[in-house]
């Protein structure tokens, strides 16, 4: 039946264009796309005492399809999320299908070193893991509604290299493209399972027998037709970043005592080892080895003094080799500000024979 196009409302002053909502509310019932809605009016009347019944034409149309989905990640701290070198950067993305139609979601092939894993929604049990050697996965989601949302969790895992440096940026990306879950001749000009879902152009004329596909602005690709969503959780690498500086000073000698002492036999020499941590995580279990020049005899009558941050400490001594084991150096609080770096100072004195 052809549609009449006359206006029904009373005359009014100049009007602005309709302000359509950019997103469509999910209704409690959310009638499935393609459902036929049919209406026939009936009439009774009398002419000259005779009762007559009539019916109108039947007006029928199919409910169109709205393709709406959301993706939320499980990171609750502020971005970027801190991850230690050598650990896994993990983000769980939850996809929720809020369409009035089943939708399939195509994941890309993960980058090398990244895996995606999820529970197969068709059986609710099988765990599927995809890495860079696998084909792109397609995940089908049935239609839900406001009371029973339908979701799938995708875990994206990337192992941070052990030698990643503090401050390096790491990403766990997930780009999802909506694809047709089935072949259907009534959608648009007919679609095939696996095709990218295409939003109907706003210029397309309405046809009561053709199912249009509508989506929201946030899901519409720059090409104006594909329906997809890019996600990219950022991480920052935390690592220890140690450096060591060694200095030497003469504390005293037998002739000058402590006034401008010289490096002459009998002088007391002080070595200072400063270990600095410019990284964002504390260094622990650090072992330091220092070889004292062979001119010094660590077994003579002079009693060497060893301190760690001004507190007496006892190193391991083997010949002229000193070892200080199990040291801990605090992390920096701002890798751009050396004043915030963690450090420890080891000092020891030896006598010049």
């Amino acid at each position: 039946m052809k549609l009449k196009t006359f206006a029904l409302i009373a005359a009014s002053s100049a009007m602005t264009l309709p302000a359509f909502a950019a997103d469509y509310d999910i209704t409690e019932f959310d009638t499935v796309f393609g459902t036929d809605i049919s209406n026939t009016a009936s009439l009774k009347y009398q002419v000259n005492g005779t009762e007559i019944d009539e019916t109108s034409n039947t007006v029928e149309f199919k409910v169109d399809r709205k393709v709406i989905f959301s993706v939320t990640d499980n990171q609750t701290t502020t971005d970027p999320v801190v991850v230690n070198a050598g650990d896994n950067a993990v983000t769980v993305y939850t996809i929720q299908n809020d369409s009035n139609a089943p939708i399939s979601f195509q994941l890309p092939i993960p980058p090398t070193g990244t895996t995606y894993s999820y529970v197969d929604p068709t059986d609710g049990v099988t765990v599927i893991t995809v890495d860079s050697s696998d084909a792109a996965a397609i995940i089908p989601l049935v239609t839900g509604d406001a009371n029973t949302p339908v979701t799938v969790d995708i875990t994206v895992t990337l192992t941070v290299p052990n030698d990643a440096e503090s401050g390096d940026q790491i990403f766990t990306p997930l780009n999802i493209v909506a694809v047709e879950p089935a072949t259907d001749a009534e959608i648009g000009g007919g679609v095939t399972a696996g095709d990218q879902i295409v939003a109907t152009p706003s210029t397309a004329a309405w046809d009561e027998d053709v199912i249009q596909t509508i989506t929201i602005a946030d899901l519409l690709n720059v090409d104006g037709v594909s329906v997809e969503l890019d996600n990219n959780q950022e991480f920052v690498v935390s690592a220890s970043d140690l450096s060591i500086v060694k200095t030497v000073a003469i504390l005293s000698d037998p002739i000058n005592s402590t006034t401008n002492p010289k490096a002459i036999p009998g002088a007391v020499v002080e070595y200072t080892l400063t270990i600095t941590n410019a990284g964002l995580i504390a260094a622990t279990g650090v072992n330091l080895t220092d070889v004292v020049p062979t001119a010094f005899d660590l077994t003579d009558a002079y009693v060497e003094t060893y301190t760690l941050d001004a507190v007496a400490t006892v190193p391991g001594i083997a010949g002229n080799t000193l070892t200080f084991n199990g040291l801990s150096i605090d992390a920096a609080t701002d890798i751009t500000l050396p004043a915030t770096y963690g450090s420890i100072v080891i000092k020891f004195t030896v006598k010049l024979p």
Binding site: S13, P18, E54
Partner: protein, 156 residues
């Protein structure tokens, strides 16, 4: 003699048929809310461009007396289609009394007199419980005249 009677009978039948030609035409629109320049909002009935859950559909029914005699006691009835809900206070028609049914057209009444069974209790029906809407035209429809009634439903 018999011939004459037969002729008269068939003639009167023809005139009866010729005088009773009232047609009923049903048209569907999409009903959207528009904002005027002064910020006020109103409904606009327009050609549909898409019909999605949550959107409103307006039906306009025109009754047209194309006959030569007035039509009286005109009653137009429409269902609230499956998968839709009646939009409260949307049924309109000049010079009509409007009633609703909650029992698929068996009985009609004003909204205040409509009740349904909910979990064993008899409760007042809401517009979402209506199954039919009916307009009774208060005046005859003269030959050549037409009248229009309308209502709006929301797609579930």
């Amino acid at each position: 003699m018999i011939k004459k009677i037969t002729l008269a009978f068939s003639l009167s039948l023809m005139s009866l048929v010729a005088s009773a030609e009232v047609t009923l035409t049903n048209t569907v629109f999409e009903v959207v809310t528009i904002t005027n320049e002064d910020g006020s909002k109103q409904d606009k009935w327009q050609q549909p461009d898409k019909l999605l859950p949550g959107e409103r559909v307006g039906y306009q029914i025109e009754v047209n007396n194309k006959g030569t005699e007035p039509a009286v006691d005109i009653v137009i009835a429409n269902p609230i289609p499956e998968h839709t809900l009646y939009v409260q206070d949307s049924a309109k028609g000049i010079n009509t009394s409007i009633e609703f049914s909650v029992d698929n057209g068996k009985t009609f009444a004003q909204p205040a007199q409509l009740f349904i069974d909910k979990e064993g209790k008899r409760v007042q029906a809401t517009s979402e419980d209506f199954t039919q809407v009916r307009w009774k035209l208060n005046t005859p429809l003269a030959a050549g005249d037409s009248s229009t009634v309308q209502y709006i439903v929301k797609i579930k």
